[in-house]
């Protein structure tokens, strides 16, 4: 049924400076039974030429070109084309340890998990430094036995693993059975996919080894990107809630969801430059704090009292 072990899906958009290193570290994986699906999202900086050059060199590369539609759409394109038993969604400016696929496979197959979360760190280009962020994979709140489900996590389930796709290897059968897809929007297009998988999985496992390196400190700053897409995080949150309701699990996750919605709203606000910052603040206060279910909840409902205090300040009750 599956002609490859792992499909590695990489959306490419104007990353010419870093693309070589990314593809090189993927082609050099010790696990050889892979297909590498590069989805070019109409780059105009020569990235497509880099892709073509690599595709000629390595016949495991499948190059798909699409009209510019964003990384979410590019990932969906790759997902539809994938022939692997497992799926890995990587970012084209990051780079990886040679045994990433091998290690992740070992963990996921050991317990027949729906997905595995593996260790990663951030590479700060300006300082040439690798730093591990505990909030990406909060080991403390993961059970000491594998596999497990979201119910065994001992912190807000949406805060133990971060909501991005590239540090997780997914079983294709699981993804297809639940019809998981990426939202086709400019930013926060992976949150729905990752968190839906998190709460639907019957078996989750973790491999704590650092296998991927996320590049930071050189690319276009996120807060500038989000000037044009400041509402995407809200669209992701409401889509997630719709899914939880449809799966009949919102009742047990409501408190985690609302706490996370506040956390994520505050983070978006904090990292957004003016004048969009003010626009978002007004939207949150006038509308979104209420529609997200945050408004009117007692202090005891919130796990993080500091975030609750920030909320009170924003709505002018402190």
């Amino acid at each position: 049924m599956y002609s490859k072990k792992v499909s590695i899906i990489i959306p490419v958009y104007n990353v010419v400076k870093y693309l070589d290193k990314c593809i090189e570290s993927v082609c050099a994986q010790t696990e050889k039974n892979i297909e590498i699906i590069l989805v070019d999202d109409e780059s105009n900086d020569g990235s497509i030429d880099v892709c073509r050059r690599w595709a000629e060199k390595d016949d495991r590369i499948v190059l798909i070109e699409q009209k510019n539609a964003g990384a979410g759409a590019a990932r969906n394109t790759g997902l539809r084309a994938a022939k692997g038993e497992y799926l890995l969604f990587l970012d084209s400016d990051d780079f990886f340890e040679p045994d990433m696929v091998e290690e992740a496979l070992k963990s996921i197959e050991e317990v027949n998990a729906d997905f595995v979360v593996f260790g990663s760190d951030t590479y700060y280009m300006d300082k040439d430094e690798f730093i591990r962020n505990p909030w990406v994979l909060n080991k403390k709140h993961v059970p000491p036995y594998m596999p497990f489900t979201h119910r065994e996590l001992t912190d807000n389930v949406f805060k133990v693993f971060v909501g991005w796709a590239w540090d997780k290897l997914y079983r294709t059968e699981f993804v297809k059975a639940h019809d998981l897809y990426f939202q086709e929007q400019r930013t926060t297009n992976d949150l729905l996919f990752v968190f839906s998988a998190l709460v639907l999985a019957k078996k989750i496992t973790v491999n704590d080894k650092v296998l991927a390196h996320q590049r930071r400190g050189g690319k276009e700053s996120l807060s500038v990107t989000r000037e044009k897409s400041w509402h995407c995080f809200y669209d992701a949150l409401t889509a997630l809630r719709d899914r939880l309701v449809a799966e009949n699990i919102y009742w047990e996750l409501e408190q985690d969801y609302i706490n996370y919605a506040l956390h994520f709203s505050l983070w978006n606000l904090r990292t957004l430059a003016e004048p969009t910052h003010t626009m978002l603040r007004e939207k949150l206060v006038d509308e979104w704090f209420e529609s997200l279910g945050i408004k009117g909840k007692p202090e005891s409902y919130f796990y993080n009292k500091g975030e609750y205090a920030d909320y009170l300040e924003l709505i002018g009750e402190k």
Binding site: P143, P144, Y145, T149, Q255
Partner: protein
């Protein structure tokens, strides 16, 4: 249809099996079915079963490769045809009137299950039996009356075991109550126990002991790392079952955490010292999470238990130290003169009150 199907999940028990089979074959109630599930025994257990099968046509033998306790029990449950179902561990035995008397009570009162007190026993080299009465209602003293466990969650405070009673098969099938089959897991009777209480409409606990539970080989305190968390994993399974239905979970969540607390403390006593601190740390995280989610209720715990849980959540290190010194204190208690003991107890109770 036999009145009672008795299921024996059998794995390497050649030394005890005859006593178990004799006790069930010799029941005053003769209209029974005896289901022997051989779980891949590597000793002479299967030969013994075959020998009994040849002379008693009430015996049904199911045999297969080793699949663990849960799987063996489920095979027996699938095969059972009786009106009620009993479970006999093949290293234990039962007194002759057990199934007859329990069956009469169950039928007369239209019960989904009936359970009873039991004896734990040991035997010395001369074959002399030493019996200890176990009151399964020691934490919930409601005997000989009709209980409604599905509407009365506190009923799960009865001591956990699955073999001191009989269950109506129609009830077991209505809710498809089975054991967790995860290979290598332990304590797979916990999930069965919890389901019977979560769904039973009518049940009774009688205060007459019938079942004899062998305690010759008390479980060793040395456990492998993977075995340390078996109790946690079984409780994850129970939670998943209860959460299939929001109403059931809302009703049972408080007693779920009560039972979990009791079983975790039991596990804490059993595991090797090298795992104890780590185990408590996990327990602290789990209980803190439960508290944050409003799943802990003071009402189901005694005051002492409630204080213990809160001090564990507050600081796992000092809680660990307290447990260690309490253990030390218990050890030296016999050597302390009474007045000194009273003084120490007074000081300790003051500390607790703080």
């Amino acid at each position: 249809m036999a009145k009672v199907s008795v299921i024996l999940p059998i794995f390497n028990v050649e030394n005890y099996l005859r006593e178990a089979l004799d006790s069930v074959c010799g029941q005053t109630l003769s209209d029974i079915e005896i289901i022997c599930v051989n779980d891949g025994s590597t000793d002479s257990s299967l030969d013994i079963i075959r020998e009994y099968e040849a002379r008693d046509n009430r015996i049904v033998v199911i045999t297969g490769p080793n699949g663990g306790y849960g799987k063996a029990m489920n095979k027996g449950l699938d095969a059972a045809t009786g009106e009620y179902i009993g479970i006999l561990e093949p290293d234990d035995y039962v007194v002759p009137e057990m199934y007859g008397e329990l069956y009469d009570i169950a039928v007369k009162n239209d019960l989904d299950f009936v359970k009873a007190d039991f004896y734990r026993f040991t035997r010395n080299e001369n074959g002399e039996e030493n019996l200890t009465l176990e009151k399964i209602g020691k934490n919930f003293n409601k005997y000989n009356i009709i209980l409604h466990p599905c509407d009365d969650p506190m009923c799960v405070k009865f001591t956990l075991n699955t073999w001191t009673g009989i269950y109506k098969r129609a009830f077991i099938e209505e809710f498809h109550i089975r054991h967790n089959e995860t290979p290598g897991a332990s304590f797979q009777d916990n999930g069965f126990f919890f389901q019977t209480f979560a769904y039973a409409r009518r049940a009774m606990i009688v205060d007459k002991p019938y079942y004899r539970n062998r305690r010759d080989n008390p479980n060793s305190s040395v456990m492998s790392k993977t075995k340390v968390y078996c109790m946690n994993i079984e409780h994850d399974y129970i939670r998943a079952l209860l959460m299939r239905d929001r109403e059931v979970w809302e009703k049972f969540k408080y007693v779920y955490w009560y039972k979990k607390y009791m079983n975790y403390m039991f596990t804490f006593q059993r595991i090797g010292d090298e795992y104890k601190k780590e185990y408590l740390t996990r327990m602290q995280l789990e209980f803190k999470r439960a508290r944050d989610k409003g799943e802990l209720s003071k009402d189901v715990f005694s005051e002492l238990e409630w204080n213990k849980i809160n001090s564990l959540i507050k600081n796992v290190n000092s809680y660990y130290d307290t447990l260690r010194s309490a253990k030390f204190f218990r050890k030296i208690v016999p050597y302390i003169p009474k007045p000194v003991k009273r003084g120490i107890l007074k000081v300790m109770s003051l500390r607790k009150g703080r």
